[in-house]
Protein backbone atom coordinates (compact mmCIF):
# COMPACT_ATOMS: atom_id res chain seq x y z
CA UNK A 1 0.00 0.00 0.00
CA UNK A 2 2.82 2.38 0.86
CA UNK A 3 4.36 1.64 -2.54
CA UNK A 4 1.06 2.38 -4.29
CA UNK A 5 0.70 5.60 -2.30
CA UNK A 6 4.05 6.70 -3.67
CA UNK A 7 2.59 6.25 -7.15
CA UNK A 8 -0.38 8.41 -6.13
CA UNK A 9 2.15 10.99 -4.97
CA UNK A 10 3.76 10.95 -8.43
CA UNK A 11 0.33 11.65 -9.89
CA UNK A 12 -0.37 14.78 -7.82
CA UNK A 13 3.14 16.05 -7.12
CA UNK A 14 3.17 18.14 -10.30
CA UNK A 15 -0.57 18.75 -10.55
CA UNK A 16 -0.91 22.50 -10.13
CA UNK A 17 -4.71 22.62 -9.84
CA UNK A 18 -4.53 20.35 -6.82
CA UNK A 19 -1.96 22.45 -5.01
CA UNK A 20 -3.66 25.74 -5.78
CA UNK A 21 -6.94 24.46 -4.36
CA UNK A 22 -5.16 22.93 -1.38
CA UNK A 23 -3.40 26.23 -0.76
CA UNK A 24 -6.69 28.12 -0.96
CA UNK A 25 -8.15 25.66 1.53
CA UNK A 26 -5.38 26.40 4.04
CA UNK A 27 -5.74 30.14 3.59
CA UNK A 28 -9.52 29.93 3.85
CA UNK A 29 -9.36 27.93 7.08
CA UNK A 30 -7.37 30.68 8.74
CA UNK A 31 -9.53 33.29 7.02
CA UNK A 32 -12.91 31.98 8.10
CA UNK A 33 -11.74 31.52 11.67
CA UNK A 34 -10.26 34.98 11.73
CA UNK A 35 -13.59 36.41 10.59
CA UNK A 36 -15.31 34.58 13.48
CA UNK A 37 -12.64 35.84 15.84
CA UNK A 38 -12.90 39.43 14.61
CA UNK A 39 -16.70 39.47 14.90
CA UNK A 40 -16.53 38.19 18.46
CA UNK A 41 -13.90 40.78 19.42
CA UNK A 42 -15.89 43.54 17.84
CA UNK A 43 -19.12 42.52 19.59
CA UNK A 44 -17.40 42.31 22.98
CA UNK A 45 -15.82 45.72 22.50
CA UNK A 46 -18.89 47.55 21.24
CA UNK A 47 -21.38 45.97 23.59
CA UNK A 48 -19.68 44.71 26.76
CA UNK A 49 -23.09 43.78 28.18
CA UNK A 50 -23.35 41.13 25.40
CA UNK A 51 -20.64 39.30 27.32
CA UNK A 52 -23.40 38.19 29.68
CA UNK A 53 -24.91 36.10 26.93
CA UNK A 54 -21.75 35.29 25.01
CA UNK A 55 -19.82 34.13 28.04
CA UNK A 56 -16.03 34.14 27.76
CA UNK A 57 -14.34 34.21 24.37
CA UNK A 58 -14.85 31.06 22.35
CA UNK A 59 -11.31 31.38 21.09
CA UNK A 60 -9.74 30.54 24.45
CA UNK A 61 -8.73 27.02 25.46
CA UNK A 62 -10.53 24.70 25.88
CA UNK A 63 -13.47 26.05 23.83
CA UNK A 64 -11.29 26.98 20.87
CA UNK A 65 -11.14 23.33 19.64
CA UNK A 66 -14.89 23.20 19.14
CA UNK A 67 -15.08 26.73 17.73
CA UNK A 68 -12.40 26.24 15.10
CA UNK A 69 -13.74 22.77 14.23
CA UNK A 70 -17.19 24.27 13.70
CA UNK A 71 -16.13 27.24 11.60
CA UNK A 72 -13.62 25.23 9.55
CA UNK A 73 -16.19 22.58 8.73
CA UNK A 74 -17.92 25.02 6.36
CA UNK A 75 -14.90 24.60 4.08
CA UNK A 76 -14.93 20.81 3.93
CA UNK A 77 -16.40 20.94 0.46
CA UNK A 78 -12.88 21.83 -0.74
CA UNK A 79 -11.23 18.51 0.20
CA UNK A 80 -14.36 16.88 -1.25
CA UNK A 81 -13.74 18.76 -4.46
CA UNK A 82 -10.09 17.64 -4.48
CA UNK A 83 -11.21 14.04 -4.09
CA UNK A 84 -13.71 14.35 -6.94
CA UNK A 85 -11.05 15.89 -9.19
CA UNK A 86 -8.58 13.16 -8.34
CA UNK A 87 -10.97 10.32 -9.18
CA UNK A 88 -12.74 11.85 -12.19
CA UNK A 89 -9.37 12.81 -13.71
CA UNK A 90 -8.57 9.11 -13.81
CA UNK A 91 -11.83 8.46 -15.61
CA UNK A 92 -11.47 11.26 -18.12
CA UNK A 93 -7.82 10.42 -18.91
CA UNK A 94 -8.76 6.70 -18.84
CA UNK A 95 -5.74 6.22 -16.61
CA UNK A 96 -7.87 4.07 -14.29
CA UNK A 97 -7.80 1.58 -17.16
CA UNK A 98 -4.12 2.06 -17.83
CA UNK A 99 -3.16 1.58 -14.17
CA UNK A 100 -4.90 -1.78 -14.26
CA UNK A 101 -3.49 -2.71 -17.66
CA UNK A 102 -0.04 -1.93 -16.30
CA UNK A 103 -0.47 -4.34 -13.42
CA UNK A 104 -2.59 -3.02 -10.56
CA UNK A 105 -5.57 -5.10 -9.58
CA UNK A 106 -8.93 -3.39 -9.43
CA UNK A 107 -8.72 -3.69 -5.65
CA UNK A 108 -5.28 -2.03 -5.60
CA UNK A 109 -6.80 0.92 -7.39
CA UNK A 110 -9.84 1.43 -5.19
CA UNK A 111 -7.93 0.78 -1.95
CA UNK A 112 -5.32 3.37 -2.80
CA UNK A 113 -8.11 5.87 -3.51
CA UNK A 114 -9.51 5.07 -0.06
CA UNK A 115 -6.05 5.68 1.36
CA UNK A 116 -5.95 9.01 -0.52
CA UNK A 117 -9.27 9.92 1.09
CA UNK A 118 -8.01 9.11 4.59
CA UNK A 119 -4.81 11.09 4.01
CA UNK A 120 -6.78 14.04 2.68
CA UNK A 121 -9.01 13.92 5.76
CA UNK A 122 -5.95 13.71 8.04
CA UNK A 123 -4.35 16.64 6.22
CA UNK A 124 -7.50 18.75 6.58
CA UNK A 125 -7.66 17.84 10.25
CA UNK A 126 -4.03 18.78 10.77
CA UNK A 127 -4.68 22.24 9.34
CA UNK A 128 -7.72 22.67 11.54
CA UNK A 129 -5.67 21.50 14.53
CA UNK A 130 -2.93 24.04 13.77
CA UNK A 131 -5.51 26.79 13.37
CA UNK A 132 -7.11 25.95 16.73
CA UNK A 133 -3.69 25.77 18.34
CA UNK A 134 -2.69 29.13 16.89
CA UNK A 135 -5.90 30.96 17.79
CA UNK A 136 -5.90 29.43 21.28
CA UNK A 137 -2.30 30.45 21.98
CA UNK A 138 -2.69 33.93 20.57
CA UNK A 139 -5.88 34.52 22.57
CA UNK A 140 -4.78 33.14 25.92
CA UNK A 141 -1.03 32.60 25.74
CA UNK A 142 0.98 29.38 26.11
CA UNK A 143 0.08 28.94 29.74
CA UNK A 144 -3.57 28.52 28.79
CA UNK A 145 -2.89 25.52 26.50
CA UNK A 146 -5.32 22.71 27.18
CA UNK A 147 -6.30 19.63 25.27
CA UNK A 148 -9.60 19.14 26.99
CA UNK A 149 -12.23 19.61 24.31
CA UNK A 150 -9.82 18.29 21.71
CA UNK A 151 -12.26 15.45 20.96
CA UNK A 152 -13.59 18.01 18.45
CA UNK A 153 -10.41 17.48 16.45
CA UNK A 154 -11.42 13.84 16.08
CA UNK A 155 -15.02 14.78 15.27
CA UNK A 156 -13.69 17.12 12.60
CA UNK A 157 -11.69 14.24 11.15
CA UNK A 158 -14.85 12.13 10.99
CA UNK A 159 -16.65 14.98 9.30
CA UNK A 160 -13.86 15.51 6.79
CA UNK A 161 -13.73 11.80 6.01
CA UNK A 162 -17.46 11.75 5.56
CA UNK A 163 -17.40 14.64 3.05
CA UNK A 164 -14.41 13.20 1.20
CA UNK A 165 -15.78 9.68 0.96
CA UNK A 166 -19.16 10.85 -0.25
CA UNK A 167 -17.25 12.85 -2.86
CA UNK A 168 -15.33 9.71 -3.84
CA UNK A 169 -18.63 7.85 -4.08
CA UNK A 170 -20.16 10.47 -6.39
CA UNK A 171 -16.96 10.45 -8.45
CA UNK A 172 -17.09 6.68 -8.88
CA UNK A 173 -20.83 6.68 -9.60
CA UNK A 174 -20.91 9.57 -12.09
CA UNK A 175 -17.37 9.35 -13.53
CA UNK A 176 -17.55 12.80 -15.13
CA UNK A 177 -16.31 15.69 -13.04
CA UNK A 178 -19.07 18.14 -13.99
CA UNK A 179 -21.95 15.99 -12.92
CA UNK A 180 -20.13 14.56 -9.88
CA UNK A 181 -19.32 18.07 -8.61
CA UNK A 182 -22.85 19.29 -9.33
CA UNK A 183 -24.50 16.47 -7.46
CA UNK A 184 -22.00 16.74 -4.60
CA UNK A 185 -22.66 20.43 -4.03
CA UNK A 186 -26.38 20.11 -4.55
CA UNK A 187 -26.53 17.28 -2.06
CA UNK A 188 -24.20 18.76 0.54
CA UNK A 189 -25.57 22.29 0.43
CA UNK A 190 -29.23 21.95 -0.49
CA UNK A 191 -30.79 18.52 -0.60
CA UNK A 192 -29.58 17.11 2.67
CA UNK A 193 -30.25 20.28 4.64
CA UNK A 194 -33.76 20.39 3.27
CA UNK A 195 -34.36 16.72 3.98
CA UNK A 196 -32.91 17.10 7.48
CA UNK A 197 -35.13 20.09 8.19
CA UNK A 198 -38.23 18.22 7.07
CA UNK A 199 -37.34 15.05 8.94
CA UNK A 200 -36.48 16.94 12.12
CA UNK A 201 -39.79 18.70 11.99
CA UNK A 202 -42.08 15.84 11.02
CA UNK A 203 -40.21 12.67 11.94
CA UNK A 204 -38.95 13.30 15.43
CA UNK A 205 -35.40 14.52 14.88
CA UNK A 206 -34.07 11.68 12.76
CA UNK A 207 -32.88 14.26 10.21
CA UNK A 208 -29.77 14.63 12.33
CA UNK A 209 -28.76 11.12 11.34
CA UNK A 210 -28.67 11.72 7.59
CA UNK A 211 -25.26 11.02 5.99
CA UNK A 212 -23.56 14.40 6.26
CA UNK A 213 -25.78 15.70 9.06
CA UNK A 214 -24.61 12.89 11.33
CA UNK A 215 -21.08 14.30 11.29
CA UNK A 216 -22.17 17.96 11.02
CA UNK A 217 -24.04 17.51 14.29
CA UNK A 218 -20.99 16.17 16.10
CA UNK A 219 -19.72 19.72 16.39
CA UNK A 220 -22.34 22.10 17.87
CA UNK A 221 -22.77 25.79 17.17
CA UNK A 222 -20.11 27.26 19.46
CA UNK A 223 -21.46 30.75 20.13
CA UNK A 224 -24.25 31.81 22.48
CA UNK A 225 -23.73 28.47 24.19
CA UNK A 226 -25.60 29.54 27.34
CA UNK A 227 -28.70 30.29 25.34
CA UNK A 228 -28.52 27.56 22.70
CA UNK A 229 -28.07 24.75 25.21
CA UNK A 230 -31.33 25.69 26.88
CA UNK A 231 -33.31 25.78 23.65
CA UNK A 232 -31.91 23.05 21.44
CA UNK A 233 -31.80 19.39 22.35
CA UNK A 234 -28.64 17.91 20.88
CA UNK A 235 -28.61 14.44 19.31
CA UNK A 236 -26.59 11.85 21.19
CA UNK A 237 -22.90 11.88 20.18
CA UNK A 238 -22.47 8.12 20.44
CA UNK A 239 -25.38 7.44 18.12
CA UNK A 240 -24.09 10.08 15.71
CA UNK A 241 -20.66 8.43 15.65
CA UNK A 242 -22.21 5.02 15.06
CA UNK A 243 -24.37 6.37 12.24
CA UNK A 244 -21.39 8.18 10.69
CA UNK A 245 -19.23 5.05 10.81
CA UNK A 246 -21.94 2.96 9.18
CA UNK A 247 -22.24 5.52 6.39
CA UNK A 248 -18.47 5.57 5.86
CA UNK A 249 -18.32 1.80 5.51
CA UNK A 250 -21.33 1.90 3.23
CA UNK A 251 -19.84 4.57 0.92
CA UNK A 252 -16.66 2.62 0.52
CA UNK A 253 -18.48 -0.65 0.06
CA UNK A 254 -20.44 0.77 -2.88
CA UNK A 255 -17.29 2.28 -4.44
CA UNK A 256 -15.44 -1.00 -4.12
CA UNK A 257 -18.28 -3.09 -5.48
CA UNK A 258 -18.86 -0.74 -8.35
CA UNK A 259 -15.22 -0.63 -9.30
CA UNK A 260 -14.77 -4.39 -9.02
CA UNK A 261 -17.74 -5.50 -11.06
CA UNK A 262 -18.19 -2.83 -13.71
CA UNK A 263 -16.63 -2.45 -17.12
CA UNK A 264 -14.06 0.26 -16.68
Amino acid sequence: MLYNLKIEWLKIKNYRTFWILAGLFVISIFGINYIGFAIEQETMKKAPEAGMILGTSRFLFPDVWGTIAYLSSFLLFIPGLLMIISITNEYSFKTHRQNIIDGWSRLDFIYVKLADAVILALGSTLIMFLAAFGFGISSGGFSSLSFSGSQYVFYFFMQALSYILIALLFGVLFKRSGIALGVFFLYAVVIENMAAGLLNRYAGGIGAYLPLESTDNLIPFPFLKNVVDQVVKRPDTTYLLIAASIYLVFYFWICKRRFQTDDL
Binding site: K11, Y15, F93, T95, I101, G103, W104, S105, D263
Partner: protein, 296 residues
Protein backbone atom coordinates in the same frame (compact mmCIF):
# COMPACT_ATOMS: atom_id res chain seq x y z
CA UNK B 1 3.44 -22.99 -24.82
CA UNK B 2 0.49 -20.73 -25.43
CA UNK B 3 0.87 -17.19 -24.22
CA UNK B 4 -2.86 -16.70 -24.31
CA UNK B 5 -5.68 -19.19 -24.51
CA UNK B 6 -9.18 -17.77 -24.90
CA UNK B 7 -11.97 -20.21 -24.06
CA UNK B 8 -15.52 -19.51 -25.06
CA UNK B 9 -15.65 -15.81 -24.17
CA UNK B 10 -19.02 -14.13 -24.59
CA UNK B 11 -19.66 -10.50 -23.87
CA UNK B 12 -22.84 -8.46 -24.08
CA UNK B 13 -23.25 -4.70 -23.96
CA UNK B 14 -26.88 -4.63 -22.99
CA UNK B 15 -28.61 -6.54 -25.76
CA UNK B 16 -25.74 -6.24 -28.20
CA UNK B 17 -23.53 -9.28 -28.39
CA UNK B 18 -19.99 -7.96 -28.72
CA UNK B 19 -18.28 -11.34 -28.54
CA UNK B 20 -19.96 -14.65 -29.18
CA UNK B 21 -18.27 -17.70 -27.70
CA UNK B 22 -14.82 -16.83 -29.00
CA UNK B 23 -12.02 -19.37 -28.52
CA UNK B 24 -8.49 -19.43 -29.86
CA UNK B 25 -4.96 -19.53 -28.61
CA UNK B 26 -1.81 -17.60 -29.28
CA UNK B 27 1.46 -19.53 -29.39
CA UNK B 28 4.63 -18.09 -27.92
CA UNK B 29 6.80 -16.20 -30.36
CA UNK B 30 4.05 -15.52 -32.87
CA UNK B 31 2.97 -12.21 -34.30
CA UNK B 32 -0.74 -12.62 -33.96
CA UNK B 33 -3.03 -10.33 -35.90
CA UNK B 34 -6.61 -9.94 -34.76
CA UNK B 35 -8.45 -8.65 -37.79
CA UNK B 36 -11.91 -7.31 -38.16
CA UNK B 37 -13.93 -4.36 -39.32
CA UNK B 38 -14.79 -1.53 -36.93
CA UNK B 39 -17.04 -2.74 -34.15
CA UNK B 40 -16.15 -6.40 -34.62
CA UNK B 41 -15.08 -6.88 -30.99
CA UNK B 42 -11.28 -6.65 -31.24
CA UNK B 43 -10.83 -4.07 -28.51
CA UNK B 44 -13.53 -5.68 -26.36
CA UNK B 45 -11.61 -8.95 -26.50
CA UNK B 46 -8.33 -7.31 -25.52
CA UNK B 47 -10.11 -5.30 -22.83
CA UNK B 48 -11.39 -8.50 -21.24
CA UNK B 49 -7.92 -10.01 -21.32
CA UNK B 50 -6.59 -6.88 -19.60
CA UNK B 51 -9.31 -7.08 -16.92
CA UNK B 52 -10.84 -3.72 -17.66
CA UNK B 53 -13.97 -5.30 -19.09
CA UNK B 54 -15.93 -8.17 -17.62
CA UNK B 55 -17.02 -11.04 -19.83
CA UNK B 56 -20.46 -12.59 -19.38
CA UNK B 57 -19.08 -16.08 -19.75
CA UNK B 58 -15.95 -17.95 -20.72
CA UNK B 59 -12.42 -17.89 -19.37
CA UNK B 60 -8.92 -17.21 -20.57
CA UNK B 61 -5.43 -18.12 -19.47
CA UNK B 62 -2.27 -16.04 -19.66
CA UNK B 63 1.00 -17.97 -19.67
CA UNK B 64 -0.94 -21.12 -18.85
CA UNK B 65 -2.52 -19.84 -15.64
CA UNK B 66 -5.76 -18.14 -14.76
CA UNK B 67 -5.11 -14.42 -14.91
CA UNK B 68 -4.04 -12.45 -11.85
CA UNK B 69 -3.08 -8.82 -11.91
CA UNK B 70 0.70 -9.24 -11.59
CA UNK B 71 0.76 -11.37 -14.76
CA UNK B 72 -0.16 -8.23 -16.70
CA UNK B 73 3.22 -6.78 -15.69
CA UNK B 74 4.78 -9.23 -18.15
CA UNK B 75 2.75 -7.71 -20.98
CA UNK B 76 3.18 -4.30 -22.56
CA UNK B 77 -0.22 -3.11 -23.69
CA UNK B 78 -1.51 -0.28 -25.82
CA UNK B 79 -5.28 -0.50 -25.74
CA UNK B 80 -7.43 1.68 -27.99
CA UNK B 81 -6.08 5.10 -27.00
CA UNK B 82 -2.95 6.37 -25.26
CA UNK B 83 -4.03 6.87 -21.64
CA UNK B 84 -1.84 9.29 -19.75
CA UNK B 85 -2.07 12.14 -17.24
CA UNK B 86 -2.51 15.22 -19.41
CA UNK B 87 -0.87 17.59 -16.95
CA UNK B 88 2.32 15.54 -16.62
CA UNK B 89 5.27 15.34 -18.99
CA UNK B 90 5.86 12.28 -21.14
CA UNK B 91 8.75 11.31 -18.93
CA UNK B 92 6.77 11.60 -15.68
CA UNK B 93 3.96 9.55 -17.20
CA UNK B 94 6.43 6.80 -18.01
CA UNK B 95 7.75 6.94 -14.44
CA UNK B 96 4.23 6.21 -13.18
CA UNK B 97 3.80 3.35 -15.65
CA UNK B 98 7.17 1.88 -14.67
CA UNK B 99 6.31 2.18 -10.98
CA UNK B 100 3.07 0.25 -11.48
CA UNK B 101 4.80 -2.37 -13.62
CA UNK B 102 7.51 -2.51 -10.93
CA UNK B 103 10.14 -2.65 -13.63
CA UNK B 104 11.55 -0.61 -16.46
CA UNK B 105 12.30 2.62 -14.53
CA UNK B 106 15.81 2.44 -15.97
CA UNK B 107 14.49 1.95 -19.51
CA UNK B 108 12.80 5.35 -19.82
CA UNK B 109 15.66 7.01 -21.72
CA UNK B 110 16.00 4.04 -24.03
CA UNK B 111 12.31 3.69 -24.94
CA UNK B 112 11.88 7.42 -25.49
CA UNK B 113 14.76 7.29 -27.96
CA UNK B 114 13.30 4.21 -29.65
CA UNK B 115 10.10 6.08 -30.50
CA UNK B 116 11.85 9.38 -31.32
CA UNK B 117 10.28 11.27 -28.45
CA UNK B 118 13.48 12.07 -26.61
CA UNK B 119 13.48 15.79 -27.40
CA UNK B 120 9.90 16.26 -26.15
CA UNK B 121 10.22 14.20 -22.97
CA UNK B 122 9.78 17.24 -20.72
CA UNK B 123 6.71 18.57 -22.52
CA UNK B 124 3.30 18.03 -21.05
CA UNK B 125 1.32 15.17 -22.55
CA UNK B 126 -1.50 17.59 -23.37
CA UNK B 127 0.79 19.42 -25.80
CA UNK B 128 1.59 16.28 -27.81
CA UNK B 129 0.18 15.65 -31.26
CA UNK B 130 -1.90 12.52 -31.85
CA UNK B 131 1.10 10.74 -33.35
CA UNK B 132 3.32 11.69 -30.40
CA UNK B 133 0.74 10.42 -27.95
CA UNK B 134 0.68 7.15 -29.82
CA UNK B 135 4.48 6.96 -29.71
CA UNK B 136 4.50 7.58 -25.98
CA UNK B 137 1.98 4.76 -25.55
CA UNK B 138 4.22 2.44 -27.53
CA UNK B 139 7.22 3.57 -25.46
CA UNK B 140 5.26 2.75 -22.32
CA UNK B 141 4.58 -0.76 -23.65
CA UNK B 142 8.29 -1.34 -24.09
CA UNK B 143 9.19 -0.48 -20.47
CA UNK B 144 10.77 -3.38 -18.64
CA UNK B 145 11.30 -5.37 -21.83
CA UNK B 146 8.09 -7.45 -21.62
CA UNK B 147 7.82 -10.88 -23.22
CA UNK B 148 4.47 -10.11 -24.77
CA UNK B 149 3.24 -6.95 -26.44
CA UNK B 150 -0.37 -6.12 -27.15
CA UNK B 151 -0.93 -3.41 -29.72
CA UNK B 152 -4.44 -2.26 -30.50
CA UNK B 153 -4.29 -0.25 -33.73
CA UNK B 154 -0.63 0.68 -33.14
CA UNK B 155 -0.29 2.98 -36.13
CA UNK B 156 -3.40 5.02 -35.36
CA UNK B 157 -2.71 8.69 -35.92
CA UNK B 158 0.81 8.21 -37.23
CA UNK B 159 2.11 9.73 -40.45
CA UNK B 160 3.50 7.48 -43.21
CA UNK B 161 7.02 7.73 -41.81
CA UNK B 162 5.76 6.92 -38.33
CA UNK B 163 3.76 3.96 -39.66
CA UNK B 164 6.78 2.46 -41.33
CA UNK B 165 8.93 3.07 -38.23
CA UNK B 166 6.45 1.31 -35.99
CA UNK B 167 6.20 -1.52 -38.48
CA UNK B 168 9.99 -1.88 -38.43
CA UNK B 169 9.88 -1.81 -34.64
CA UNK B 170 7.28 -4.56 -34.55
CA UNK B 171 9.29 -6.69 -36.94
CA UNK B 172 12.46 -6.20 -34.90
CA UNK B 173 10.60 -7.06 -31.67
CA UNK B 174 9.29 -10.21 -33.32
CA UNK B 175 12.82 -11.12 -34.34
CA UNK B 176 13.86 -10.87 -30.70
CA UNK B 177 11.39 -13.67 -30.05
CA UNK B 178 8.67 -11.59 -28.43
CA UNK B 179 5.06 -12.54 -28.83
CA UNK B 180 3.07 -9.74 -30.39
CA UNK B 181 -0.68 -9.53 -30.35
CA UNK B 182 -1.94 -6.89 -32.73
CA UNK B 183 -5.48 -5.81 -33.44
CA UNK B 184 -5.97 -3.93 -36.63
CA UNK B 185 -8.28 -3.16 -39.48
CA UNK B 186 -5.34 -2.22 -41.67
CA UNK B 187 -4.81 -5.35 -43.69
CA UNK B 188 -1.63 -4.16 -45.23
CA UNK B 189 -0.16 -3.86 -41.77
CA UNK B 190 -1.19 -7.36 -40.82
CA UNK B 191 -0.04 -8.89 -44.08
CA UNK B 192 3.41 -7.42 -43.67
CA UNK B 193 4.12 -8.53 -40.13
CA UNK B 194 1.80 -11.26 -38.87
CA UNK B 195 2.56 -14.96 -38.65
CA UNK B 196 -0.92 -15.81 -37.37
CA UNK B 197 -4.33 -14.23 -37.77
CA UNK B 198 -7.78 -14.44 -36.29
CA UNK B 199 -10.69 -12.77 -38.03
CA UNK B 200 -13.60 -11.38 -36.08
CA UNK B 201 -16.88 -10.07 -37.35
CA UNK B 202 -19.81 -8.90 -35.25
CA UNK B 203 -18.25 -10.72 -32.31
CA UNK B 204 -17.96 -14.05 -34.08
CA UNK B 205 -14.62 -15.65 -34.72
CA UNK B 206 -14.69 -16.49 -38.42
CA UNK B 207 -11.33 -18.17 -38.62
CA UNK B 208 -8.01 -18.37 -36.79
CA UNK B 209 -4.64 -19.93 -37.46
CA UNK B 210 -1.39 -19.47 -39.34
CA UNK B 211 -1.49 -16.53 -41.70
CA UNK B 212 -0.51 -18.51 -44.79
CA UNK B 213 -3.24 -21.05 -44.06
CA UNK B 214 -6.01 -18.61 -43.18
CA UNK B 215 -5.24 -16.06 -45.83
CA UNK B 216 -4.95 -18.62 -48.61
CA UNK B 217 -4.20 -16.47 -51.57
CA UNK B 218 -5.11 -18.02 -54.91
CA UNK B 219 -3.19 -17.31 -58.11
CA UNK B 220 -5.10 -15.51 -60.79
CA UNK B 221 -3.97 -15.55 -64.40
CA UNK B 222 -5.55 -12.80 -66.46
CA UNK B 223 -5.68 -13.63 -70.17
CA UNK B 224 -7.14 -12.10 -73.27
CA UNK B 225 -7.42 -13.04 -76.93
CA UNK B 226 -9.43 -11.85 -79.91
CA UNK B 227 -11.99 -14.58 -79.51
CA UNK B 228 -12.93 -14.58 -75.84
CA UNK B 229 -15.61 -17.24 -76.24
CA UNK B 230 -13.14 -19.70 -77.66
CA UNK B 231 -10.57 -18.78 -74.99
CA UNK B 232 -13.03 -19.33 -72.20
CA UNK B 233 -14.03 -22.68 -73.62
CA UNK B 234 -10.42 -23.71 -74.00
CA UNK B 235 -9.34 -22.66 -70.52
CA UNK B 236 -12.06 -24.74 -68.98
CA UNK B 237 -10.26 -27.80 -70.29
CA UNK B 238 -6.88 -26.72 -68.89
CA UNK B 239 -5.42 -29.03 -66.23
CA UNK B 240 -5.30 -27.63 -62.69
CA UNK B 241 -7.49 -24.62 -63.20
CA UNK B 242 -10.01 -24.25 -60.39
CA UNK B 243 -12.25 -21.56 -61.83
CA UNK B 244 -12.64 -19.56 -65.03
CA UNK B 245 -14.24 -16.14 -64.76
CA UNK B 246 -15.25 -14.01 -67.71
CA UNK B 247 -14.85 -10.29 -67.23
CA UNK B 248 -15.54 -7.59 -69.80
CA UNK B 249 -12.30 -7.66 -71.76
CA UNK B 250 -10.34 -10.44 -70.08
CA UNK B 251 -10.73 -13.88 -68.69
CA UNK B 252 -9.46 -14.78 -65.24
CA UNK B 253 -8.28 -18.32 -64.63
CA UNK B 254 -8.02 -19.05 -60.91
CA UNK B 255 -5.44 -21.56 -59.67
CA UNK B 256 -4.68 -22.91 -56.22
CA UNK B 257 -1.96 -20.88 -54.41
CA UNK B 258 1.39 -21.11 -56.18
CA UNK B 259 0.15 -23.46 -58.88
CA UNK B 260 -0.24 -21.09 -61.80
CA UNK B 261 2.35 -21.40 -64.56
CA UNK B 262 1.90 -18.67 -67.14
CA UNK B 263 4.33 -20.25 -69.58
CA UNK B 264 2.30 -23.43 -69.53
CA UNK B 265 -0.91 -21.50 -70.13
CA UNK B 266 0.66 -19.66 -73.05
CA UNK B 267 1.97 -22.86 -74.65
CA UNK B 268 -1.40 -24.57 -74.14
CA UNK B 269 -3.25 -21.79 -75.97
CA UNK B 270 -0.77 -21.63 -78.85
CA UNK B 271 -0.88 -25.41 -79.22
CA UNK B 272 -4.63 -25.07 -79.61
CA UNK B 273 -4.27 -22.35 -82.23
CA UNK B 274 -5.15 -19.38 -80.09
CA UNK B 275 -2.83 -16.38 -79.85
CA UNK B 276 -2.91 -14.35 -76.66
CA UNK B 277 -2.73 -10.57 -76.55
CA UNK B 278 -2.63 -10.27 -72.76
CA UNK B 279 -1.22 -12.56 -70.09
CA UNK B 280 -0.52 -11.56 -66.52
CA UNK B 281 -0.21 -13.31 -63.15
CA UNK B 282 -2.00 -11.62 -60.26
CA UNK B 283 -2.47 -12.25 -56.56
CA UNK B 284 -5.85 -11.60 -55.13
CA UNK B 285 -5.56 -8.50 -52.97
CA UNK B 286 -5.76 -9.16 -49.26
CA UNK B 287 -8.56 -6.68 -49.17
CA UNK B 288 -10.64 -8.72 -51.59
CA UNK B 289 -9.81 -11.82 -49.60
CA UNK B 290 -10.82 -10.14 -46.36
CA UNK B 291 -14.09 -8.95 -47.83
CA UNK B 292 -14.74 -12.47 -49.04
CA UNK B 293 -14.11 -13.97 -45.61
CA UNK B 294 -16.17 -11.39 -43.78
CA UNK B 295 -19.11 -11.15 -46.15
CA UNK B 296 -22.23 -12.65 -44.62
Amino acid sequence: MDVLAVKGITKYYGKICALNNVSFSIPQGSVYGILGPNGSGKTTLLGIIMNILRQNSGTFELFGELPVSHVRRRIGTLLETPNFYHYLSGEKNLQIAAAIKQKGAGDIDKVLKMVNLDDRRQSKFSTYSLGMKQRLAIASCLLGDPEVLVFDEPTNGLDPVGISEIRELIISLAKQGKTIIMASHLLDEVEKVCSHVAILKYGNLLTAGKADEVLVNEDIVEISAKDLDQLEHLLNTFQGVSQVKRLEHVIQAVFPPGKADTEEVNRFCIDHGLLLNHLILKKKSLEALFLEITKN
